[in-house]
Subunit: 246 residues, 2 copies
């Protein structure tokens, strides 16, 4: 069997389980560290609270719950310099899961699945959103990020637009132009990207988005699914945010 | 039931089934057009041969095989101005399928799954490559492209590098810098991107790639899976190729 491999992803810790220089993992995470990884007292491990804190720890007590002494705390480990919000026309469930799986490591700070005219389905109910949040949490750990994105399903596009905070807005649109320098270096506002459901935004939805200052950008000459377009536009926005720091 | 919806994706036609101004679909595609879409004589449809030709047709004969009169032929419909080749460290099967699913619409002209030190598995056998080619073919149709990418699984990275043709080379690498203007407008060479297997390229593999002039580019501060990194770097390269045409 040999020596157990040390975990290379952080564990999840609830903010209320962190006190000064110690933290205590929940039952499931403790089981994983102590029994799957068979960590012993003195073993190093990492944890994140999903709210921007990332802890390097040393295992101090391995009875029942894992208790770690905090050696170092970093803020915003693995995070982008600005928020990156995805507003995506609600596709079928498998595509929803794929969007979460890729958008979380790519740095999304919020993901909103919007029931659109061509979605042909209602907003995602709370029970299923909870399931998606668990997928997102796993993604945060695997990608070594430290902020859990908000996972939402707004009632409709018009309702979303009425309450949407300020941001640099991009719309994946066949009639747009390739992304060039749309994302400025000076702003601290989030980047907000909109991607249509399968079949695209309906004309009236598109008009609303353009009126709300979503700038149309083209993702190229071939037709992309909702999930591929979502990942492509997030990858572009992510790269722009990183370049703007150079 | 109402009127059957006209297909919004091209059908597949073998190059040898195209003659002057007519083409004949194979058995499976004919069934789809005539029985699933219930197309009648005079109905418009599209077809591609996967080698760069895209045909607009009118259905002329609907008996047994669908025969269409070619109204218009375009070259390289949905294609990028340059080749875009992905060399990816072989991951598990589900990730392989995800790479194909997203890389084909994003414009990949070749996809090579390389067994690497950390892949822990051999090259994909021919029978499974044939299955992936069918997935790629479906992707070409759905994305309205016209060139089927080559799907390969080279024996090893050193063997690949010995035979690799010239290109603009990018390596997804945590120690790189964000992609800026690495892709020049002047070249006609393909863009060749390399992405490591789960766990990344081993040091010796990375050294070989850098020696072969793969330029390291960073995909950001969080850790990406092989499949997410593949899509992200393809999306960036794609956008660079489109921008270079502006």
């Amino acid at each position: 069997v040999g020596r157990p491999r040390l975990p290379d992803s952080p564990f999840w810790v609830e903010p209320e389980d962190v006190e000064a220089d110690h933290l205590r993992l929940g039952a499931e995470e403790s089981h994983h560290l102590l029994h799957v990884h068979r960590a012993r007292e003195g073993a190093p491990f990492e944890a994140t609270d999903g709210r921007g804190r990332f802890y390097e720890c040393v295992l101090e007590s391995a009875q029942d719950r894992a208790v770690g002494r905090i050696v170092r705390t970093t803020e915003d480990q693995g995070e982008l310099p600005r928020g990156l919000e995805l507003y995506v026309g609600l596709p079928e469930w498998r595509a929803v899961e794929q969007v979460i799986e890729h958008a979380v490591p790519l740095g999304a700070s919020a993901i909103d699945f919007l029931p659109c005219e061509r979605s042909g389905r209602d907003a995602i109910p709370a029970s299923r959103l909870a399931r998606l949040e668990r997928v997102a949490r796993a993604g945060i750990k695997q990608s070594r990020r430290s902020r859990l994105p908000r996972i939402m399903s707004s009632e409709s596009l018009p309702i979303l637009l009425k309450s949407l905070g300020p941001g640099d807005r991009l719309l994946a649109d066949p009639e747009g132009r390739p992304l060039l320098h749309e994302i400025t270096t000076s702003s601290q506002l989030p980047v907000q990207v909109a991607v249509g459901p399968p079949g695209g935004f309906a004309p009236e939805e598109r008009r609303l988005l353009l009126e709300s200052e979503f700038r149309p950008i083209s993702l190229g000459p071939s037709r992309l699914t909702t999930e591929t377009a979502s990942l492509a536009v997030l990858a572009l926005a992510r790269n722009s945010l990183l370049r703007s720091k150079l």
